[in-house]
């Protein structure tokens, strides 16, 4: 079970990485054509200089290498998953699946891109290599059609496959373009040409980005209608809630895109814009956090049953709203003996008996964790007044939280239960998850405390948004859907909302740090601290809301 769970997770996690690397390949080629205009060889051509093209090729190569590695690993992992789940390995049957064939084709195509990117690294003007890469992109994009939800459907199969492929293509243009912008910005220190090309890239990308968003929406809406079908389906199933989350994240990314576009327009009209170099690069970094989360959500969506297929186990909007409604936190817990007594019935397949003690135990754990987090956030908010020096010690709360989790997460294991520490940690997937979550909370506390109290450790501050982003992505991609779809989903709904907020925590804090660290000469001085501090405060506010969700959390009885 543990191996199977691990293989399952890696399989779906690789799905997210594959979408990112796919976006890097396809997005880079569209970038080369539209922004760099590598095919424009006229004397008065508007194409980018060779150093800028080289920057693009490096990212193209990175994307191709990642896709090849991820696709190859995914094929192997899927085999491991099959063997672990079935108890044997029907090799021939596996090799005959559409998934294996389409996956293998993608692997070879990405190897082709590695070769072509290698040629272009040496000679960025190699027209034949660019042409071949453009031709190879067609089967790469089309092969995706056999790796999506639509392929398993019985109705509108072809239309759904085509629609999803266009949707993926539009996403790749956006994500790949943003990655190219990011890479171009960080190349400007070594490449003067990159520095000069920066405003042109921003203004040209505005129209390309808008086109891709238009395509995303026009293909995403019919797909959502087909797979979700109702309001309850949107808010009462894992699939629907992830689509809603994806839309919310996209709105956040669009805000950053709008700010970038505005700065580009200002530069075009006036020939200068302080924001173009003062804020835009950092907005793009924050946008990247959000877009990466969007791609992981998209990968998770592909492993959720569409809402229209689980009408019998769909939660109603009011049931979901009830999960989020405030109540007095539970501050008393059932005894350890009461909890253990109900466990055999709770996990039984036949003669399953819901355990009240297990539900109350879980409520207590979540509610107390929420109180820790809410308290920390209140102190953190106070720190923004700049009046109380002691408030910078707020991350100590994470250390306290980790100690609480260590004792409470798994009642059947050491130190409360009879199963030993190592035996439980490495013998049970769920316990392993909890141990790591505990370690993560402890690490966050120690690192952030050090970062906020030791001036010489300021680089450590970036660990907080990075870990928050990972935590958010994990919450968003961590499905609970198992045997009891409805009750499992009600739990998942709170975790999905927290995952979305964790991405806000990450991008807000990142923006705050980056804007504060940017050279004064690059900032529009009047609003320098405002934007960063507002982003930082929003980040803490998002964490505060997570704390509230946890504090009011109630687990359905199942």
């Amino acid at each position: 079970m543990f191996i199977q769970g691990l293989a399952n997770f890696i399989d779906d996690f690789l799905g997210g990485l594959m979408l990112i690397s796919y976006a890097l390949i396809v997005g880079s080629l569209i970038w080369a054509a539209w922004i760099l205009r590598v095919w424009d060889r006229s004397a008065t051509g508007t194409g980018a200089g060779e150093p800028v093209v080289t920057v693009c090729v490096r990212l193209l190569k990175g994307g191709a290498m990642t896709l090849a590695a991820m696709q190859g690993t995914k094929l192997l992992i899927k085999g491991v998953l099959l063997a672990a789940t079935l108890g044997d390995f029907p090799l021939e049957a596996y090799f005959g699946t559409v998934q294996f064939i389409a996956g293998l084709l993608r692997f070879f195509l990405s190897c082709g891109f590695i070769y072509l990117a290698g040629r272009l690294s040496v000679s960025p003007d190699d027209r034949s290599a660019w042409n071949t890469a453009a031709i190879l992109t067609v089967p790469l994009v089309i092969s995706g059609a056999w790796l999506v939800h639509g392929v398993g459907r019985f109705e509108h199969r072809e239309q759904l496959m085509v629609m999803t492929v266009i949707h993926q293509l539009a996403a790749a243009v956006w994500v790949g373009g943003v990655a190219q912008l990011l890479f171009l910005w960080h190349s400007r220190r070594t490449e003067q040409a990159a520095h000069q090309f920066w405003p042109i890239a921003i203004t040209r990308f505005g129209r390309l980005g808008a086109t891709s968003v238009l395509l995303l929406v026009s293909t995403g809406l019919p797909l959502a209608v087909e797979y979700i079908g109702s309001l309850d389906g949107l808010f009462g199933t894992g699939y629907g809630s992830l689509v809603a989350t994806k839309a919310a994240l996209m709105a956040g990314a669009l805000y950053f895109a709008y700010r970038n576009h505005k700065a580009g327009k200002e530069w075009k009209e006036r020939g200068a814009s302080a924001d173009l170099t003062g804020k835009v690069p950092y907005f793009i970094e924050a946008e990247t956090f959000v877009l990466v989360a969007v791609l992981f959500v998209a990968a998770t969506l592909s492993s959720q049953p569409p809402s229209v297929d689980i009408k019998d186990t769909t939660a109603t909007v009011s049931e979901v709203a009830y999960m989020f409604s405030p109540r007095l936190p539970k501050i008393s817990s059932p005894t350890h003996e009461q909890l253990l007594a109900g466990e055999p019935g709770r996990v039984a397949v036949v003669d399953k008996v819901p355990s009240v003690a297990a539900t109350e135990w879980s409520d207590y754990n979540h509610n107390i964790s929420g109180m820790f987090l809410t308290g920390m956030c209140l102190v953190a908010m106070l720190s923004y007044t700049g009046r109380f020096r002691w408030t910078r010690y707020w991350p100590v709360g994470f250390i306290g939280l980790s100690i609480f989790l260590f004792f409470r997460s798994d009642a059947e294991t050491w130190p409360l239960g009879p199963i030993g520490f190592w035996e439980s940690t490495f013998g049970n997937g769920e316990v392993f998850q909890h141990r790591i979550a505990t370690l993560l909370a402890f690490m966050l506390g120690v690192l952030e405390l050090r970062a906020r109290t030791r001036p010489d450790a300021h680089r450590l501050r970036y660990m907080f948004p990075v870990l928050s982003a990972f935590g958010g992505i994990l919450l968003l991609t961590h499905s609970h859907a198992e045997f009891e779809l409805k009750s499992e989903y009600l739990i998942q709904s709170t975790h999905t909302a927290m995952g979305l907020l964790a991405v806000v925590v990450a991008s807000g804090r990142w923006l705050e740090l980056r804007l504060a660290a940017a050279p004064v000469s690059l900032q529009s001085a009047s609003s320098r601290f405002d934007t960063g501090q507002v982003a930082g405060f929003l980040s803490i506010l998002a964490m505060f809301v997570i704390g509230n969700f946890l504090m009011f959390y109630r687990e359905p009885l199942y």
């Binding site: 399952n8 019985f154 960080h186 790591i436 690192l447 991609t477």
Partner: protein, 126 residues
Amino acid sequence: MFPRAIKQSGRLMPAVALCLLALTPMAWSHAVVTESSLTSEPVKPNHATKVVLFFNSGVELALSRVFLVSKGDVFHPVHIAKGKKAGEMLVDIPPLEPGDYALKYKVFAADGHFTENVIRFRVDNP
């Protein structure tokens, strides 16, 4: 600043990677049963029965397994076959005494995702 921060972060990446591997979903669902003959034709005691399951997605039969689970969570593999329509699976249930049972299926959907799920049913006295 940015590359240095990344370099600094890189030292802690093994721990982060461990966190990623740790948060393991126990099951990912896609191919779900939308209908089953168990609701319209309950299993009769001591009679072999052919149960029909209708999935929402294409299923790779050679890569799928179904188990009959009896009281005490004892698992017995059962024979499965392809139905007449797409997404239809036939499950051979042996003669059963009255009582509570479940069918646990592990199926490989056409889109490459594994699904594990349970369908509980009761065999009543005639």
